[in-house]
Symmetry: C2
Subunit: 333 residues, 2 copies
Protein backbone atom coordinates (compact mmCIF):
# COMPACT_ATOMS: atom_id res chain seq x y z
CA UNK A 1 0.00 0.00 0.00
CA UNK A 2 1.68 3.13 -1.20
CA UNK A 3 0.39 6.44 0.09
CA UNK A 4 0.70 8.79 -2.84
CA UNK A 5 -1.69 11.52 -1.80
CA UNK A 6 0.86 13.80 -0.20
CA UNK A 7 1.45 17.29 -1.42
CA UNK A 8 4.09 19.76 -0.47
CA UNK A 9 6.37 22.50 -1.55
CA UNK A 10 9.41 21.81 0.59
CA UNK A 11 11.31 21.16 -2.62
CA UNK A 12 9.95 24.25 -4.36
CA UNK A 13 10.46 25.28 -7.12
CA UNK A 14 10.79 21.70 -8.34
CA UNK A 15 7.82 20.45 -6.33
CA UNK A 16 4.55 22.25 -6.90
CA UNK A 17 1.04 22.09 -5.54
CA UNK A 18 0.04 19.89 -8.47
CA UNK A 19 3.33 18.03 -8.83
CA UNK A 20 4.32 16.75 -5.43
CA UNK A 21 7.64 15.16 -4.61
CA UNK A 22 6.51 11.60 -5.42
CA UNK A 23 6.08 12.65 -9.05
CA UNK A 24 9.61 14.07 -9.36
CA UNK A 25 12.66 12.17 -10.58
CA UNK A 26 14.93 13.25 -7.76
CA UNK A 27 17.56 10.53 -7.61
CA UNK A 28 17.38 8.83 -10.98
CA UNK A 29 15.37 9.20 -14.15
CA UNK A 30 12.47 7.53 -12.33
CA UNK A 31 10.07 9.40 -10.12
CA UNK A 32 10.16 8.75 -6.39
CA UNK A 33 6.87 6.89 -6.76
CA UNK A 34 8.35 4.80 -9.57
CA UNK A 35 11.32 3.94 -7.36
CA UNK A 36 8.97 3.08 -4.52
CA UNK A 37 7.00 0.70 -6.75
CA UNK A 38 10.22 -0.94 -7.93
CA UNK A 39 11.09 -1.56 -4.31
CA UNK A 40 8.04 -3.74 -3.82
CA UNK A 41 8.35 -5.82 -6.95
CA UNK A 42 9.01 -9.54 -6.78
CA UNK A 43 7.27 -12.60 -5.44
CA UNK A 44 6.98 -11.45 -1.85
CA UNK A 45 4.49 -8.75 -2.78
CA UNK A 46 1.06 -8.70 -4.31
CA UNK A 47 -0.09 -6.09 -6.79
CA UNK A 48 0.56 -2.65 -5.33
CA UNK A 49 -2.31 -0.54 -4.10
CA UNK A 50 -1.86 3.18 -4.71
CA UNK A 51 -3.91 5.51 -2.55
CA UNK A 52 -3.98 9.09 -3.75
CA UNK A 53 -6.15 12.10 -4.47
CA UNK A 54 -8.57 12.32 -7.37
CA UNK A 55 -6.69 15.41 -8.56
CA UNK A 56 -3.69 13.17 -9.14
CA UNK A 57 -5.62 10.42 -10.90
CA UNK A 58 -3.97 11.04 -14.27
CA UNK A 59 -0.46 10.99 -12.88
CA UNK A 60 -1.20 7.96 -10.70
CA UNK A 61 -2.76 6.15 -13.66
CA UNK A 62 0.63 6.01 -15.35
CA UNK A 63 1.84 3.41 -12.86
CA UNK A 64 1.01 -0.28 -12.83
CA UNK A 65 -1.02 -0.56 -9.67
CA UNK A 66 -4.55 -0.70 -8.37
CA UNK A 67 -5.75 2.82 -7.62
CA UNK A 68 -7.83 3.96 -4.71
CA UNK A 69 -8.74 7.60 -5.21
CA UNK A 70 -9.59 9.78 -2.25
CA UNK A 71 -12.26 12.33 -3.21
CA UNK A 72 -10.96 14.59 -0.44
CA UNK A 73 -7.75 14.39 1.59
CA UNK A 74 -8.37 12.94 5.08
CA UNK A 75 -4.82 12.13 6.18
CA UNK A 76 -3.20 8.72 6.55
CA UNK A 77 -5.48 6.91 9.00
CA UNK A 78 -8.44 7.18 6.64
CA UNK A 79 -6.38 6.53 3.49
CA UNK A 80 -5.00 3.31 4.97
CA UNK A 81 -8.51 2.34 6.06
CA UNK A 82 -9.65 2.51 2.42
CA UNK A 83 -6.80 0.21 1.42
CA UNK A 84 -7.53 -2.20 4.27
CA UNK A 85 -11.21 -2.34 3.35
CA UNK A 86 -10.33 -3.31 -0.21
CA UNK A 87 -8.29 -6.31 0.98
CA UNK A 88 -9.15 -9.57 2.74
CA UNK A 89 -8.93 -9.24 6.52
CA UNK A 90 -5.96 -11.62 6.64
CA UNK A 91 -3.99 -9.80 3.98
CA UNK A 92 -0.71 -8.41 5.32
CA UNK A 93 -0.29 -4.78 4.33
CA UNK A 94 3.08 -3.10 3.93
CA UNK A 95 2.16 0.57 4.13
CA UNK A 96 4.71 3.10 2.96
CA UNK A 97 4.99 6.66 1.71
CA UNK A 98 5.54 7.18 -2.01
CA UNK A 99 8.31 9.75 -1.78
CA UNK A 100 11.01 8.33 0.45
CA UNK A 101 14.29 6.81 -0.57
CA UNK A 102 15.55 3.49 0.78
CA UNK A 103 19.02 2.99 -0.60
CA UNK A 104 19.57 -0.45 0.92
CA UNK A 105 16.68 -2.58 -0.29
CA UNK A 106 18.22 -5.75 1.17
CA UNK A 107 18.14 -4.25 4.64
CA UNK A 108 14.53 -3.24 4.06
CA UNK A 109 13.61 -6.76 2.97
CA UNK A 110 15.34 -8.23 6.01
CA UNK A 111 13.39 -5.89 8.29
CA UNK A 112 10.14 -6.89 6.63
CA UNK A 113 11.05 -10.54 7.18
CA UNK A 114 11.54 -9.79 10.89
CA UNK A 115 8.25 -7.93 11.11
CA UNK A 116 6.18 -10.47 9.25
CA UNK A 117 5.77 -13.08 12.01
CA UNK A 118 4.47 -10.42 14.38
CA UNK A 119 2.14 -8.95 11.79
CA UNK A 120 0.74 -12.44 11.27
CA UNK A 121 0.08 -12.59 15.02
CA UNK A 122 -1.96 -9.39 14.92
CA UNK A 123 0.75 -6.88 15.87
CA UNK A 124 0.87 -3.47 14.28
CA UNK A 125 4.51 -3.21 13.29
CA UNK A 126 6.35 -0.04 12.47
CA UNK A 127 9.90 0.39 11.22
CA UNK A 128 12.26 2.46 13.31
CA UNK A 129 14.86 4.26 11.26
CA UNK A 130 18.33 4.33 12.80
CA UNK A 131 18.67 7.89 14.12
CA UNK A 132 21.74 9.35 12.38
CA UNK A 133 21.63 12.59 14.34
CA UNK A 134 19.47 14.65 16.70
CA UNK A 135 17.00 15.58 13.97
CA UNK A 136 14.11 17.73 15.07
CA UNK A 137 12.06 17.10 11.94
CA UNK A 138 10.97 13.55 12.78
CA UNK A 139 8.95 11.84 15.43
CA UNK A 140 10.81 9.23 17.47
CA UNK A 141 9.87 5.72 18.58
CA UNK A 142 11.16 4.39 21.90
CA UNK A 143 11.75 0.65 21.96
CA UNK A 144 10.57 -1.40 24.91
CA UNK A 145 10.75 -5.09 25.55
CA UNK A 146 12.10 -7.39 22.82
CA UNK A 147 9.16 -9.41 21.48
CA UNK A 148 10.85 -11.09 18.53
CA UNK A 149 14.28 -11.36 16.92
CA UNK A 150 15.38 -7.69 17.22
CA UNK A 151 11.74 -6.65 17.21
CA UNK A 152 10.58 -4.58 20.15
CA UNK A 153 7.32 -3.63 21.67
CA UNK A 154 6.91 0.12 21.30
CA UNK A 155 7.30 1.83 24.66
CA UNK A 156 6.07 5.14 23.30
CA UNK A 157 5.88 7.39 20.29
CA UNK A 158 7.20 10.91 20.78
CA UNK A 159 6.46 13.90 18.62
CA UNK A 160 9.09 15.99 16.89
CA UNK A 161 11.42 16.98 19.74
CA UNK A 162 13.47 20.10 20.21
CA UNK A 163 17.20 19.81 19.70
CA UNK A 164 18.15 19.18 23.32
CA UNK A 165 15.49 16.53 23.68
CA UNK A 166 16.62 14.83 20.49
CA UNK A 167 20.22 14.83 21.74
CA UNK A 168 18.98 13.25 24.95
CA UNK A 169 17.24 10.50 22.97
CA UNK A 170 20.43 9.68 21.11
CA UNK A 171 22.47 9.66 24.31
CA UNK A 172 19.92 7.45 26.06
CA UNK A 173 19.58 5.01 23.15
CA UNK A 174 16.62 2.91 22.08
CA UNK A 175 15.08 5.73 20.07
CA UNK A 176 14.52 5.55 16.34
CA UNK A 177 13.00 7.88 13.77
CA UNK A 178 9.43 7.26 12.79
CA UNK A 179 9.61 6.82 9.04
CA UNK A 180 5.93 6.18 8.50
CA UNK A 181 6.33 2.63 7.22
CA UNK A 182 4.08 -0.07 8.69
CA UNK A 183 3.31 -3.75 8.40
CA UNK A 184 0.06 -5.26 9.72
CA UNK A 185 -2.91 -7.30 8.66
CA UNK A 186 -5.90 -5.48 7.24
CA UNK A 187 -8.07 -6.92 9.97
CA UNK A 188 -5.74 -5.88 12.81
CA UNK A 189 -5.62 -2.34 11.48
CA UNK A 190 -9.36 -2.06 10.99
CA UNK A 191 -10.01 -3.48 14.44
CA UNK A 192 -7.62 -1.04 16.06
CA UNK A 193 -9.10 1.83 14.05
CA UNK A 194 -12.61 0.87 15.15
CA UNK A 195 -11.46 0.85 18.77
CA UNK A 196 -9.38 4.04 18.81
CA UNK A 197 -10.82 6.16 15.96
CA UNK A 198 -14.32 4.80 15.31
CA UNK A 199 -15.42 7.83 13.28
CA UNK A 200 -12.65 7.21 10.77
CA UNK A 201 -13.46 3.53 10.55
CA UNK A 202 -17.16 4.25 10.08
CA UNK A 203 -16.65 6.96 7.46
CA UNK A 204 -14.26 4.83 5.43
CA UNK A 205 -16.55 1.83 5.58
CA UNK A 206 -19.56 3.91 4.56
CA UNK A 207 -17.65 5.62 1.73
CA UNK A 208 -16.10 2.57 0.10
CA UNK A 209 -18.24 0.59 -2.31
CA UNK A 210 -17.58 -2.92 -3.57
CA UNK A 211 -15.79 -1.71 -6.69
CA UNK A 212 -13.22 0.32 -4.80
CA UNK A 213 -14.87 3.66 -5.54
CA UNK A 214 -15.05 6.14 -2.67
CA UNK A 215 -18.11 8.30 -2.02
CA UNK A 216 -17.07 11.90 -1.48
CA UNK A 217 -19.70 12.95 1.04
CA UNK A 218 -19.30 9.88 3.18
CA UNK A 219 -15.48 10.02 3.15
CA UNK A 220 -15.52 13.73 3.95
CA UNK A 221 -17.09 12.83 7.30
CA UNK A 222 -13.87 11.18 8.41
CA UNK A 223 -11.69 13.13 10.81
CA UNK A 224 -8.36 14.05 9.19
CA UNK A 225 -5.82 12.41 11.48
CA UNK A 226 -2.58 10.57 10.89
CA UNK A 227 -2.24 6.85 11.54
CA UNK A 228 0.23 7.68 14.30
CA UNK A 229 -2.22 9.82 16.27
CA UNK A 230 -5.30 7.77 15.43
CA UNK A 231 -3.97 4.27 15.98
CA UNK A 232 -0.31 3.60 16.59
CA UNK A 233 0.07 5.75 19.69
CA UNK A 234 -3.00 4.24 21.28
CA UNK A 235 -3.20 0.62 20.21
CA UNK A 236 -1.83 -2.36 22.09
CA UNK A 237 0.50 -4.88 20.43
CA UNK A 238 2.48 -2.23 18.57
CA UNK A 239 6.02 -3.25 17.66
CA UNK A 240 9.03 -1.61 16.09
CA UNK A 241 11.73 -3.16 13.92
CA UNK A 242 14.87 -1.05 14.04
CA UNK A 243 16.46 -0.78 10.62
CA UNK A 244 19.37 0.95 8.96
CA UNK A 245 18.56 1.01 5.26
CA UNK A 246 19.75 4.32 3.79
CA UNK A 247 16.39 5.89 4.40
CA UNK A 248 15.61 9.54 3.73
CA UNK A 249 12.34 11.35 3.31
CA UNK A 250 14.18 13.99 1.24
CA UNK A 251 12.23 16.54 3.18
CA UNK A 252 14.40 19.45 2.14
CA UNK A 253 17.03 20.50 -0.35
CA UNK A 254 19.63 19.93 2.35
CA UNK A 255 18.43 16.35 2.74
CA UNK A 256 18.70 15.84 -1.01
CA UNK A 257 22.22 17.25 -0.99
CA UNK A 258 23.18 14.82 1.78
CA UNK A 259 22.23 11.75 -0.23
CA UNK A 260 23.32 13.00 -3.66
CA UNK A 261 26.48 12.02 -5.49
CA UNK A 262 29.05 14.81 -5.36
CA UNK A 263 32.09 15.75 -7.37
CA UNK A 264 35.55 16.28 -5.89
CA UNK A 265 34.62 19.81 -4.86
CA UNK A 266 31.54 18.60 -3.02
CA UNK A 267 29.13 19.91 -5.62
CA UNK A 268 26.01 17.89 -6.41
CA UNK A 269 25.30 19.24 -9.87
CA UNK A 270 23.94 18.08 -13.22
CA UNK A 271 26.46 16.95 -15.82
CA UNK A 272 25.88 20.01 -17.98
CA UNK A 273 26.37 22.48 -15.14
CA UNK A 274 29.51 24.59 -15.00
CA UNK A 275 31.06 24.99 -11.56
CA UNK A 276 34.11 27.22 -11.41
CA UNK A 277 35.89 27.82 -8.12
CA UNK A 278 32.70 26.65 -6.40
CA UNK A 279 32.33 24.06 -3.67
CA UNK A 280 29.73 22.15 -1.69
CA UNK A 281 26.80 23.43 -3.72
CA UNK A 282 23.56 21.68 -4.57
CA UNK A 283 22.56 22.54 -8.12
CA UNK A 284 19.34 21.22 -9.61
CA UNK A 285 17.78 22.21 -12.89
CA UNK A 286 14.92 21.14 -15.07
CA UNK A 287 16.89 21.30 -18.32
CA UNK A 288 18.53 24.67 -17.69
CA UNK A 289 22.30 24.97 -17.78
CA UNK A 290 23.51 26.40 -14.49
CA UNK A 291 26.86 28.18 -14.19
CA UNK A 292 28.20 28.81 -10.69
CA UNK A 293 31.35 30.88 -10.29
CA UNK A 294 33.09 31.46 -6.98
CA UNK A 295 30.27 30.36 -4.71
CA UNK A 296 30.20 27.89 -1.83
CA UNK A 297 27.55 26.09 0.20
CA UNK A 298 24.79 27.36 -2.02
CA UNK A 299 21.55 25.77 -3.13
CA UNK A 300 20.53 26.70 -6.67
CA UNK A 301 17.38 25.19 -8.13
CA UNK A 302 16.16 26.23 -11.55
CA UNK A 303 12.97 25.34 -13.37
CA UNK A 304 11.45 26.82 -16.49
CA UNK A 305 9.56 29.46 -14.54
CA UNK A 306 11.30 29.82 -11.20
CA UNK A 307 14.73 29.87 -9.58
CA UNK A 308 15.65 29.41 -5.93
CA UNK A 309 18.96 30.56 -4.44
CA UNK A 310 19.81 30.12 -0.78
CA UNK A 311 22.61 28.89 1.48
CA UNK A 312 22.88 25.21 2.29
CA UNK A 313 21.80 24.38 5.81
CA UNK A 314 18.81 26.70 5.77
CA UNK A 315 16.62 24.91 3.31
CA UNK A 316 13.65 24.70 5.65
CA UNK A 317 13.33 28.42 4.85
CA UNK A 318 11.99 27.52 1.42
CA UNK A 319 8.59 27.75 3.07
CA UNK A 320 9.17 31.47 3.62
CA UNK A 321 9.57 31.95 -0.11
CA UNK A 322 6.49 29.83 -0.74
CA UNK A 323 4.48 31.92 1.72
CA UNK A 324 5.70 35.15 0.11
CA UNK A 325 4.76 33.84 -3.32
CA UNK A 326 1.33 32.81 -2.06
CA UNK A 327 0.81 36.30 -0.68
CA UNK A 328 1.64 37.66 -4.14
CA UNK A 329 -0.71 35.21 -5.84
CA UNK A 330 2.26 34.04 -7.85
CA UNK A 331 1.61 31.43 -10.52
CA UNK A 332 4.72 29.43 -9.75
CA UNK A 333 3.44 27.39 -6.80
CA UNK B 1 25.63 56.86 -36.86
CA UNK B 2 24.97 54.05 -34.46
CA UNK B 3 27.38 51.14 -34.39
CA UNK B 4 25.23 48.10 -33.78
CA UNK B 5 27.55 45.36 -35.00
CA UNK B 6 29.01 44.48 -31.65
CA UNK B 7 28.71 41.05 -30.15
CA UNK B 8 29.64 39.79 -26.76
CA UNK B 9 28.82 37.53 -23.92
CA UNK B 10 29.86 39.66 -20.95
CA UNK B 11 26.23 39.68 -19.90
CA UNK B 12 25.78 35.94 -20.43
CA UNK B 13 23.34 34.24 -20.05
CA UNK B 14 21.17 37.17 -21.09
CA UNK B 15 23.46 38.19 -23.95
CA UNK B 16 24.22 35.53 -26.51
CA UNK B 17 26.29 35.21 -29.63
CA UNK B 18 23.22 35.97 -31.73
CA UNK B 19 21.56 38.40 -29.29
CA UNK B 20 24.12 40.96 -28.26
CA UNK B 21 23.65 43.53 -25.52
CA UNK B 22 22.18 46.19 -27.86
CA UNK B 23 19.21 43.91 -28.49
CA UNK B 24 18.44 43.44 -24.80
CA UNK B 25 16.05 45.54 -22.72
CA UNK B 26 18.43 46.09 -19.83
CA UNK B 27 17.17 49.29 -18.23
CA UNK B 28 13.60 49.66 -19.46
CA UNK B 29 11.26 47.77 -21.70
CA UNK B 30 13.20 49.10 -24.66
CA UNK B 31 16.34 47.53 -25.96
CA UNK B 32 19.61 49.39 -25.51
CA UNK B 33 19.55 50.11 -29.24
CA UNK B 34 16.02 51.45 -28.96
CA UNK B 35 17.11 53.72 -26.12
CA UNK B 36 20.09 54.86 -28.16
CA UNK B 37 17.85 55.74 -31.10
CA UNK B 38 15.50 57.68 -28.80
CA UNK B 39 18.50 59.67 -27.62
CA UNK B 40 19.10 61.03 -31.12
CA UNK B 41 15.54 61.94 -31.97
CA UNK B 42 14.49 65.52 -32.52
CA UNK B 43 15.33 68.33 -34.91
CA UNK B 44 19.06 68.40 -34.27
CA UNK B 45 19.56 65.01 -35.88
CA UNK B 46 18.98 63.57 -39.31
CA UNK B 47 17.68 60.07 -39.92
CA UNK B 48 19.81 57.63 -37.99
CA UNK B 49 22.23 55.35 -39.80
CA UNK B 50 22.56 51.90 -38.26
CA UNK B 51 25.73 49.99 -39.10
CA UNK B 52 25.60 46.32 -38.20
CA UNK B 53 26.29 42.82 -39.39
CA UNK B 54 24.25 41.01 -42.01
CA UNK B 55 23.52 38.30 -39.46
CA UNK B 56 21.63 40.92 -37.43
CA UNK B 57 19.72 42.32 -40.41
CA UNK B 58 16.35 41.07 -39.18
CA UNK B 59 16.77 42.47 -35.71
CA UNK B 60 18.15 45.75 -37.03
CA UNK B 61 15.30 46.03 -39.52
CA UNK B 62 12.83 46.43 -36.67
CA UNK B 63 14.15 49.93 -35.97
CA UNK B 64 13.37 53.09 -37.94
CA UNK B 65 16.73 53.87 -39.44
CA UNK B 66 18.77 53.51 -42.59
CA UNK B 67 20.72 50.25 -42.45
CA UNK B 68 24.26 49.66 -43.60
CA UNK B 69 24.99 45.97 -43.34
CA UNK B 70 28.57 44.76 -42.98
CA UNK B 71 29.01 41.43 -44.78
CA UNK B 72 31.91 40.65 -42.43
CA UNK B 73 32.95 42.33 -39.20
CA UNK B 74 35.95 44.66 -39.70
CA UNK B 75 35.88 46.68 -36.46
CA UNK B 76 34.89 50.30 -36.02
CA UNK B 77 37.25 52.19 -38.34
CA UNK B 78 35.86 50.39 -41.40
CA UNK B 79 32.26 50.45 -40.14
CA UNK B 80 32.40 54.21 -39.67
CA UNK B 81 34.00 54.55 -43.10
CA UNK B 82 30.95 52.90 -44.66
CA UNK B 83 28.69 55.37 -42.88
CA UNK B 84 30.86 58.32 -43.91
CA UNK B 85 30.85 57.19 -47.54
CA UNK B 86 27.06 57.10 -47.55
CA UNK B 87 26.84 60.73 -46.44
CA UNK B 88 27.80 64.05 -48.03
CA UNK B 89 31.36 65.07 -47.15
CA UNK B 90 30.08 68.05 -45.15
CA UNK B 91 27.61 66.02 -43.10
CA UNK B 92 28.45 66.07 -39.40
CA UNK B 93 28.42 62.56 -37.99
CA UNK B 94 27.68 61.77 -34.36
CA UNK B 95 29.10 58.27 -34.00
CA UNK B 96 28.08 56.24 -31.00
CA UNK B 97 27.82 52.66 -29.78
CA UNK B 98 24.39 51.08 -29.67
CA UNK B 99 24.63 49.54 -26.23
CA UNK B 100 25.67 52.28 -23.82
CA UNK B 101 23.47 54.14 -21.38
CA UNK B 102 23.51 57.92 -21.09
CA UNK B 103 21.23 58.81 -18.21
CA UNK B 104 21.57 62.59 -18.56
CA UNK B 105 20.58 63.38 -22.13
CA UNK B 106 20.69 67.12 -21.50
CA UNK B 107 24.35 66.91 -20.56
CA UNK B 108 24.97 64.88 -23.69
CA UNK B 109 23.21 67.47 -25.87
CA UNK B 110 25.21 70.27 -24.25
CA UNK B 111 28.43 68.40 -24.97
CA UNK B 112 27.42 67.92 -28.59
CA UNK B 113 26.70 71.65 -28.82
CA UNK B 114 30.23 72.34 -27.56
CA UNK B 115 31.76 69.87 -29.98
CA UNK B 116 29.84 71.03 -33.04
CA UNK B 117 31.80 74.22 -33.85
CA UNK B 118 35.06 72.28 -33.84
CA UNK B 119 33.62 69.46 -35.94
CA UNK B 120 32.52 72.08 -38.46
CA UNK B 121 36.14 73.30 -38.56
CA UNK B 122 37.43 69.85 -39.44
CA UNK B 123 38.33 68.58 -35.97
CA UNK B 124 37.76 64.99 -34.98
CA UNK B 125 36.01 65.37 -31.65
CA UNK B 126 35.68 62.71 -29.02
CA UNK B 127 33.75 62.81 -25.75
CA UNK B 128 35.69 62.25 -22.56
CA UNK B 129 33.63 60.58 -19.87
CA UNK B 130 34.23 61.92 -16.37
CA UNK B 131 36.34 59.24 -14.70
CA UNK B 132 34.38 58.13 -11.65
CA UNK B 133 37.13 55.83 -10.41
CA UNK B 134 40.42 54.19 -11.39
CA UNK B 135 38.74 51.80 -13.81
CA UNK B 136 41.07 49.47 -15.66
CA UNK B 137 38.49 48.46 -18.24
CA UNK B 138 38.55 51.67 -20.28
CA UNK B 139 41.05 53.61 -22.35
CA UNK B 140 41.76 57.11 -21.10
CA UNK B 141 42.05 60.43 -22.95
CA UNK B 142 44.47 63.08 -21.67
CA UNK B 143 43.35 66.64 -22.31
CA UNK B 144 45.82 69.18 -23.61
CA UNK B 145 45.37 72.82 -24.58
CA UNK B 146 41.86 74.30 -24.46
CA UNK B 147 40.77 74.93 -28.07
CA UNK B 148 37.15 75.91 -27.46
CA UNK B 149 34.76 76.48 -24.58
CA UNK B 150 35.74 73.55 -22.34
CA UNK B 151 36.93 71.67 -25.41
CA UNK B 152 40.52 70.48 -25.36
CA UNK B 153 42.99 69.27 -27.89
CA UNK B 154 43.77 65.64 -27.11
CA UNK B 155 47.27 65.32 -25.70
CA UNK B 156 47.22 61.56 -25.98
CA UNK B 157 45.08 58.44 -25.88
CA UNK B 158 46.18 55.78 -23.43
CA UNK B 159 45.16 52.16 -23.49
CA UNK B 160 43.48 50.35 -20.62
CA UNK B 161 45.84 51.00 -17.70
CA UNK B 162 46.65 48.88 -14.69
CA UNK B 163 45.17 49.91 -11.39
CA UNK B 164 48.12 51.95 -10.14
CA UNK B 165 48.40 53.80 -13.43
CA UNK B 166 44.69 54.56 -13.42
CA UNK B 167 44.95 55.88 -9.87
CA UNK B 168 47.82 58.10 -11.04
CA UNK B 169 45.64 59.46 -13.84
CA UNK B 170 42.89 60.40 -11.42
CA UNK B 171 45.35 62.02 -9.02
CA UNK B 172 47.00 63.95 -11.83
CA UNK B 173 43.72 65.11 -13.39
CA UNK B 174 42.92 65.88 -17.02
CA UNK B 175 42.16 62.24 -17.84
CA UNK B 176 38.79 61.03 -19.01
CA UNK B 177 37.43 57.66 -20.06
CA UNK B 178 37.21 56.98 -23.75
CA UNK B 179 33.54 56.17 -24.30
CA UNK B 180 33.80 55.63 -28.05
CA UNK B 181 31.52 58.52 -28.98
CA UNK B 182 32.69 60.87 -31.73
CA UNK B 183 31.61 63.92 -33.69
CA UNK B 184 33.21 64.90 -37.00
CA UNK B 185 32.40 65.61 -40.60
CA UNK B 186 32.32 62.70 -42.99
CA UNK B 187 34.99 64.37 -45.08
CA UNK B 188 37.34 64.97 -42.17
CA UNK B 189 37.06 61.36 -41.09
CA UNK B 190 37.59 59.95 -44.56
CA UNK B 191 40.58 62.23 -45.11
CA UNK B 192 42.15 61.18 -41.82
CA UNK B 193 41.43 57.54 -42.58
CA UNK B 194 43.05 57.88 -46.02
CA UNK B 195 46.14 59.38 -44.39
CA UNK B 196 46.52 57.03 -41.42
CA UNK B 197 44.80 53.81 -42.52
CA UNK B 198 44.69 53.91 -46.31
CA UNK B 199 43.90 50.20 -46.67
CA UNK B 200 40.73 50.62 -44.67
CA UNK B 201 39.71 53.69 -46.64
CA UNK B 202 40.38 51.93 -49.94
CA UNK B 203 38.55 48.73 -48.98
CA UNK B 204 35.50 50.60 -47.74
CA UNK B 205 35.36 52.79 -50.84
CA UNK B 206 35.73 49.77 -53.13
CA UNK B 207 33.10 47.78 -51.22
CA UNK B 208 30.37 50.42 -51.02
CA UNK B 209 28.10 50.84 -54.01
CA UNK B 210 25.81 53.79 -54.70
CA UNK B 211 22.79 52.10 -53.10
CA UNK B 212 24.50 51.55 -49.76
CA UNK B 213 25.14 47.85 -50.38
CA UNK B 214 28.51 46.51 -49.31
CA UNK B 215 30.46 43.98 -51.38
CA UNK B 216 31.68 41.16 -49.16
CA UNK B 217 34.98 40.36 -50.89
CA UNK B 218 36.03 43.97 -51.17
CA UNK B 219 35.10 44.81 -47.58
CA UNK B 220 36.85 41.72 -46.30
CA UNK B 221 40.13 43.23 -47.54
CA UNK B 222 39.91 45.94 -44.89
CA UNK B 223 42.14 45.53 -41.86
CA UNK B 224 40.08 45.03 -38.71
CA UNK B 225 41.14 47.95 -36.52
CA UNK B 226 39.29 50.24 -34.15
CA UNK B 227 38.79 53.92 -34.95
CA UNK B 228 40.99 54.73 -31.97
CA UNK B 229 44.00 52.82 -33.25
CA UNK B 230 43.42 53.57 -36.92
CA UNK B 231 42.63 57.28 -36.72
CA UNK B 232 42.11 59.04 -33.42
CA UNK B 233 45.51 58.24 -31.90
CA UNK B 234 47.33 59.36 -35.04
CA UNK B 235 45.39 62.22 -36.56
CA UNK B 236 45.98 65.92 -35.97
CA UNK B 237 43.19 68.22 -34.86
CA UNK B 238 41.70 65.72 -32.43
CA UNK B 239 39.70 67.28 -29.59
CA UNK B 240 37.93 66.04 -26.48
CA UNK B 241 34.82 67.42 -24.80
CA UNK B 242 34.74 66.34 -21.15
CA UNK B 243 31.27 65.37 -20.11
CA UNK B 244 29.47 63.99 -17.08
CA UNK B 245 26.28 62.46 -18.38
CA UNK B 246 25.52 59.30 -16.44
CA UNK B 247 27.33 57.17 -18.98
CA UNK B 248 27.91 53.46 -18.66
CA UNK B 249 28.82 50.83 -21.19
CA UNK B 250 27.19 48.21 -18.93
CA UNK B 251 30.16 46.05 -19.65
CA UNK B 252 29.44 43.62 -16.85
CA UNK B 253 26.77 42.52 -14.43
CA UNK B 254 28.49 44.60 -11.77
CA UNK B 255 28.18 47.67 -13.99
CA UNK B 256 24.49 46.97 -14.48
CA UNK B 257 24.03 46.62 -10.73
CA UNK B 258 25.72 49.98 -10.19
CA UNK B 259 23.26 51.85 -12.40
CA UNK B 260 20.13 49.87 -11.49
CA UNK B 261 17.38 51.00 -9.15
CA UNK B 262 17.62 49.20 -5.83
CA UNK B 263 15.24 48.48 -3.00
CA UNK B 264 15.92 49.40 0.62
CA UNK B 265 18.04 46.28 1.08
CA UNK B 266 20.18 47.19 -1.92
CA UNK B 267 18.71 44.51 -4.15
CA UNK B 268 18.22 45.26 -7.82
CA UNK B 269 15.52 42.72 -8.60
CA UNK B 270 12.43 42.32 -10.78
CA UNK B 271 9.09 43.17 -9.19
CA UNK B 272 8.02 39.53 -9.08
CA UNK B 273 11.19 38.34 -7.38
CA UNK B 274 11.11 37.30 -3.73
CA UNK B 275 14.05 38.46 -1.62
CA UNK B 276 14.02 37.29 1.98
CA UNK B 277 16.80 38.30 4.35
CA UNK B 278 18.89 39.08 1.26
CA UNK B 279 20.85 42.22 0.49
CA UNK B 280 22.82 43.91 -2.25
CA UNK B 281 22.00 41.33 -4.88
CA UNK B 282 21.54 41.77 -8.60
CA UNK B 283 18.70 39.57 -9.81
CA UNK B 284 17.76 39.43 -13.47
CA UNK B 285 15.36 37.07 -15.14
CA UNK B 286 13.76 36.56 -18.49
CA UNK B 287 10.29 35.87 -17.11
CA UNK B 288 11.35 33.44 -14.39
CA UNK B 289 10.41 34.16 -10.78
CA UNK B 290 13.55 34.25 -8.67
CA UNK B 291 13.47 33.61 -4.92
CA UNK B 292 16.57 34.53 -2.91
CA UNK B 293 16.72 33.62 0.76
CA UNK B 294 19.53 34.63 3.09
CA UNK B 295 22.06 35.62 0.45
CA UNK B 296 24.10 38.78 0.03
CA UNK B 297 26.17 40.38 -2.70
CA UNK B 298 25.12 37.78 -5.20
CA UNK B 299 24.46 38.01 -8.93
CA UNK B 300 21.65 35.74 -10.11
CA UNK B 301 20.68 35.80 -13.78
CA UNK B 302 18.06 33.43 -15.12
CA UNK B 303 16.92 32.80 -18.66
CA UNK B 304 14.77 30.04 -20.10
CA UNK B 305 17.76 27.78 -20.69
CA UNK B 306 20.54 29.01 -18.42
CA UNK B 307 21.21 30.38 -14.96
CA UNK B 308 24.28 32.24 -13.68
CA UNK B 309 25.15 32.55 -9.99
CA UNK B 310 28.25 34.37 -8.77
CA UNK B 311 29.32 36.96 -6.21
CA UNK B 312 29.03 40.62 -7.02
CA UNK B 313 32.38 42.26 -7.76
CA UNK B 314 33.69 39.36 -9.82
CA UNK B 315 31.47 39.61 -12.83
CA UNK B 316 34.33 39.77 -15.29
CA UNK B 317 34.63 36.06 -14.50
CA UNK B 318 31.53 35.41 -16.57
CA UNK B 319 33.97 34.85 -19.41
CA UNK B 320 35.34 31.81 -17.58
CA UNK B 321 31.88 30.25 -17.63
CA UNK B 322 31.49 31.17 -21.28
CA UNK B 323 34.84 29.55 -22.11
CA UNK B 324 33.89 26.42 -20.16
CA UNK B 325 30.58 26.22 -22.00
CA UNK B 326 32.35 26.68 -25.34
CA UNK B 327 34.67 23.82 -24.48
CA UNK B 328 31.61 21.68 -23.79
CA UNK B 329 29.95 22.74 -27.07
CA UNK B 330 27.04 23.91 -24.98
CA UNK B 331 24.03 25.24 -26.85
CA UNK B 332 23.42 28.11 -24.46
CA UNK B 333 25.95 30.62 -25.84
Amino acid sequence: VILAGGSGTRLWPLSRQNRAKQFLPLLSDKTMLGETLDRVGGDLFGEPLLVGGVAQADMLGEYEATLILEPVARNTAAAIALAALSLPRDATMLVMPSDHVIADRDAFMAAIAKALPLALQGWLVTFGIEARGPETGYGYIKSGEEVGDRVFEVERFVEKPDRATAEGYLAEGGYHWNGGIFLFSAGAYLDALKTHAPEIAAAARKAMDDDGAVDADAFAESPSISIDYAVMEKARKVAVVPVSMGWSDIGSWDALYDISDKDDAGNAAPADAVTIDSANCLIRADGQTVAAIGVEDLIVVATGDAVLVMPRGDSQRVKEAVEALKAKNAKVL
